[in-house]
Symmetry: C2
């Protein structure tokens, strides 16, 4: 069931799914305190079309005026086909009520501990040094620990202890004292989950005392000025150590700016952030650390390190508590990074009993397969078609982009983001267009746009939209007279780009399964990760064969599960440790030069269900 989120977004509900659950799954901003119990009355949405009579819970929490205006609770309202809703504009950028929270059903065990110490003051009968006093006090509460600290902490210790007459709060990370603060600060303990993407960087501020996500912010990766993709960044970095440092510093500045936004918005100090978990692809991981990437992009594609590394924040110049811990997710291989490990940690259902596939869709598509025997991962170059790039009139998902296409005998209906004239087409629109064109007989399974003269079975309104086109071959008009009067079309080359992309993904899936001695029929479930994948129409991706042909309810889009993995690892340090074990166990399958893959690839370009 599809529901439209105004101004221009479509979400698809799973069977039996509540509107609230779907909004959370799509990471859309909705206040959520009681998590669907119907007790808090916070998850208000405005229903502009298809509103139904209020339920008991709604009558209890909403005023008469609200009910008259179409305000309902996302947890309680009955979803209906064709429903259109508006999210409360005030919360669009305010995720204070923990959008991500529901996805994080993990124990609260961040590995950090704040302990209030009431230390006895020195006297001639008790001349122990200040640090020794702290150590003894901690040892009393934590026997057998061999406590240590960094010099910068010892430097300030005597003054801190004397500020509140030897009442002080220590923050412990394993046996290390990360900080000592005057008085009782045990309520204030935060972490940041960081997702460093090639294009953008996202940071979530997590309250580690309460186990809630307070706010998520994101911005463009400062490295984009040096090239859009990992290969161009690697080339730039390899030209000189100075350039490598430039890239390192740019992304660190991006991260520091995001941390600054979070602390400012929530009114906390940077010093009260003690941990940061980081998911990133291997290149972003290396460039963030400033590691040598010269062997990363040339065969045999070797990284400087795939291990789960950790550093003091000061060592990386990251402006949280200087002694805070930056924990990087381990990489699996040069092109299957910590983001893939994070995606698995963030979608733990793929580790359940049975055979499960995770597809992290992006320019570089990573695949993860878990069978009852083993785990496999690979990376397949889907190219930028899914993001609208490389397509003649392709564009990112922003106002003016066609994001939905429905073709009937009578013509073409399009949905445009922002409800304006069409400017181009984004990835989700492209996938739906191709599916619809195939179903309507405008293209055949080879992807060829049919000759309108020879296909008289095709209704006239559709035939009229097929034109000879230019050097990129025959074209199909999705929208006549779009913005500035320009038609939006898909041409033969565009379709070829999509075929290459989906072929690479599909062949990768088959190769992984073949490696495990399995076939598509053995899959119990498919998890689609990546923000982009949340916008895809399940029917379309099945129809064009981007994902294996299994029942739609066994396909689940989980949004940016890599970032969710980072949050989970922050909330529960055991999840971070598990990431290290996972990365060691996952067998990487190199598709470059892999004959199985090449052979599957040829067959996977057909536009048909994959089975």
């Amino acid at each position: 069931m599809k529901i439209k989120i105004k101004p221009g977004r479509m979400i698809e509900l799973l069977p039996e799914e509540s509107l609230l659950a779907a909004l959370v799954r799509y990471q859309l901003p909705v206040p959520n305190v009681c998590n669907g119990k119907g007790t808090c009355g916070k998850c208000k949405v405005r229903i502009t079309s298809g509103v139904s009579a209020p339920t008991q819970a709604e009558l209890k929490h909403l005023s008469g005026q609200e009910i008259d205006e179409g305000i309902r609770l996302a947890c309680a309202v009955k979803p209906q086909e064709g429903m259109e809703i508006e999210l409360e504009s005030g919360v669009t950028y305010d995720r204070k009520e923990a959008v991500l929270r529901n996805m994080m059903q993990t124990e609260l065990n961040p590995g950090l501990e704040k302990i209030l110490l009431r230390i006895s003051a020195p006297s001639l009968a008790d001349e122990r040094g200040d640090w020794d006093r702290v150590v003894d006090e901690i040892a009393g509460k934590r026997p057998h620990a061999s406590i240590h600290a960094d010099l910068s902490l010892l430097e300030k210790l005597p003054q801190v202890l004397r500020t509140k007459n030897f009442k002080a709060t220590v923050t412990l990370w394993e046996n290390e004292v990360l900080d000592v603060e005057a008085g009782d600060t045990t309520q204030s303990i935060f972490g940041v989950a960081l997702d460093i993407g090639t294009t953008s960087v996202a940071a979530a501020l997590v309250d580690l005392k309460r186990g809630t996500v307070l706010k998520t912010v994101s911005s463009e990766n400062g490295q984009t000025a040096y090239g859009a993709d990992v290969i161009s960044r690697i080339s730039y970095a390899n030209e000189s150590p100075e350039q490598r440092r430039q890239l390192r510093d740019r992304v660190r500045e991006t991260v520091n700016a995001l941390v600054g936004k979070l602390t400012e918005a929530e009114g906390i100090t940077a010093d009260s952030i003690y941990t940061m978990t980081v998911v990133a692809n291997t290149t972003m991981n290396h460039l963030f650390l400033g590691l040598d990437v010269s062997c990363l992009a040339v065969s045999p594609f070797v990284s400087a390190s795939n291990s789960p590394l950790s550093f003091a924040a000061a060592e990386l110049g990251i402006k949280i508590n200087p002694r805070g811990k930056i924990l990087l997710f381990p990489n699996i291989a040069s092109f299957v990074g910590g983001d893939t490990v994070g995606a698995v940690v963030g979608a733990p259902e793929v580790l359940a009993e049975g055979t499960h596939l995770l597809i992290d869709l992006g320019t570089n598509c990573e695949l993860f397969l878990k069978t009852s025997e083993a785990m496999y991962a690979c990376s397949t170059a889907a190219g930028p078609a899914f993001e609208g790039a490389g397509i003649t009139q392709g564009m990112r998902a922003k106002p003016g982009a066609i994001e939905g296409v429905a073709i009937t005998d009578q013509g073409v209906e399009i949905e445009v983001i922002g409800e304006q004239a069409a400017v181009g087409i984004c990835g989700s629109g492209l996938v739906e267009a191709i599916e619809q064109m195939k179903l309507a007989g405008i293209i055949n399974k080879q992807g060829t746009i049919v000759d309108p003269a020879k296909n008289t079975a095709l209704n006239a309104p559709l035939r009229e939209r097929i034109r000879p086109g230019g050097k990129d071959g025959r074209e199909f008009v999705l929208a006549f007279g779009g913005a500035d009067g320009v038609d939006v079309v898909l041409n033969q080359k565009d379709i070829g780009e999509l075929q290459l992309a989906k072929g690479a993904v599909c062949a990768g899936i088959k190769t992984l399964l073949s490696q495990a001695g399995l076939t598509l029929q053995d899959l119990d479930s498919v998890v689609l990760a990546g923000t982009f994948a949340s916008y895809l129409n399940a029917r379309s991706i099945l129809e064009i064969g981007l994902v294996p042909d299994i029942a739609p309810e066994r396909i689940r889009a989980v949004g940016n599960s890599a970032h969710v993995g980072a949050v989970r690892a922050l909330l529960n340090h055991e999840e971070y440790k598990q990431a290290g074990l996972l990365a060691k166990e996952i067998k990487h399958i190199e598709l470059g030069g892999n004959k199985t893959f090449t052979s599957f690839f040829m067959k996977s370009m057909y536009i048909e269900r994959a089975s």
Copy 2:
């Protein structure tokens, strides 16, 4: 038995002691490879007076010409009273053959390990990251280790591994990889033992592969420009954080200059120095680290830390391997520092069964008592008299200083450093002069210079040397017409200074013993530590009551045993760990305001044997 070392130094041999053993004990430069076995023929000395016929060993190792010139082997020559020797000038500043070595009979177990790895090169079938390759290879040789490294090492790793085709040497400190170098560098592994004194800093370069001390250098502590003693340094540091940093930076510069001298002299790289052990008093320890000293010198005298701290060299700005470990000895209290712990580690005989006392003699005198039940330590302000300061014509032990005094009925015989005209008197000369004056009846046990008019029993040549003096009271002439025709004298005030100094030491000893329920008679041995103490005449210090009245053979001077302790801790990491345990167990006795001490002090100023 006394032997003169030209140009102007006297050493005293213990019964049955060889000349070589005595030279080593006094830390005089003598080449020593076989350590007295008579097999290497290296310990040549030139005997200018009292030479005897060559022994078998000497005939074997020396040429006829050498024998004719009086060259003998220090291990084989029979020592004789009145013998005078010259050390080979070529070795005066060359301790390459390990002067300290003999004092360091500890297991070679520095906690550091260099392992040569022959790592398999990457291939498409083996895409592990570079760091993962290193970790796996180490894990193969060291099961169960969870290996980690600093970012600066990971940064350079890919290039280092590829320099010698994946043959590389790792340096391990516990589970940390301190460095990875191309090729086989397993032979090159060094440490520095550092003694940061208030006045001077000494550094010994130790070959941790072979267990030998290669060279020792020293220089003035760069902080002396900011005050001569710890109290003035503390005051300066407390005026502002900037001034505290100044003091920190000055002493670090001194240390770095010494390290530079060592590496240059031995032709090694600073990067091949992986550990540094540091003995220092508590103030020097804190100022070297840059810690807050504002509570150190005011009651109740609390340090920022007494714990055995360790840091990466880069964190302290010390120019050895940046990831090398700087290990500071623990302090016991604010005025009993890591140097006292070092002195105990460097003279392990004080920890043997029985009751033993260690006296570390200097401006601040630290005492350590070990009984069959417990360990105690205290600090007693001896003042600068032992170093010649505060004495009217006092001076440091350098050419022109009277360092030996013998008084007979006929007059006074003096020994002057450098065999020149007397300029003044140094500490060892002062102690011997007072002893001789007491024995000759020139002063009584109260320390008063007798009235020559009333003491006709005194021979005329001595009586003539007693003069009324000026404001500082009656004086005794040690040398008529010294340098520039000035007489060198000791006056009543000078004697009083020495009485205060020796009284403070003696009372401290009695207080410690009293704390343990013991008396002077219970002592099995006394160890005199501190370079200065090596120059003192055992008979004199017994006679004036500076040390308890026990048989002279139970008193042993061990030189700068704090520095020896630092070397031992470098050679054997277990000794460093033991230092940490020692410091925790030693009970500190505060003498300030201690009534037992005050009462002993009054009685301890008499110039008489202490019993």
